[in-house]
Assembly symmetry: C2
Homo-oligomer: 114 residues x 2
């Protein structure tokens, strides 16, 4: 049980799901917001803002990085993050295309059967 069946889906579905998963925690939404908000990429500031321990924030940053949504560079003892706009926009557009396509179908069908 609990065997991973995720890979048996279409690549596009897996990618959409992965992006959604990356932003499926309020901390990660808040982090993206915080980074997008400032003109200089912040770092430990995020820890100040969030109601989470430093190590937990670091973990969330790691996941956002893994998803390619943010980038980080080390600046002295500090660590500086910014949005990776290329990936961010690409993912956002992909998700939006999914929404739009679904909506288009609904226009065509119009049959609200439930």
């Amino acid at each position: 049980m609990a065997v991973n069946k995720k890979e048996e889906f279409k690549k596009s579905e897996i990618e959409l799901a992965e992006f959604a998963k990356a932003i499926s925690h309020p901390a990660r939404i808040a982090i993206l917001k915080a980074i997008a908000d400032r003109d200089v990429c912040i770092c430990g500031e995020i820890v100040e803002i969030l109601p989470l321990a430093q190590s937990t924030v670091s973990q969330h940053l790691k996941e956002l990085k893994k998803a390619g949504l943010i980038q980080g560079t080390i600046d002295g003892t500090k660590s500086c993050y910014c949005i990776n706009w290329k990936t961010f926009e690409k993912s956002a557009n992909g998700l939006n295309a999914f929404f739009e396509k679904a909506k288009a179908k609904s226009e065509a069908n119009k049959a609200d059967c439930c």
Copy 2:
């Protein structure tokens, strides 16, 4: 440990994250697609399409229902699902507004510091 800190974030952040979580599994993306695709709401068809056991599909349907993204009605022995467009669009628009707002900031800042 593993205490739930999610409720300590802003309501808007929690809502965005919850929607993202609802669509954070390829099976659920595939289910939404399948339902949106047909003009008649399907049911056991979904089980045929997905590489998952009936009970697992049922579980995923339950989660989509919990998120308000789909609705179901019983029709004899069959169960008929359709997209709850009101919630779906509202959620999709909310997420999109988040993307747009972030992007707008990036236009303003332009400082790619990393």
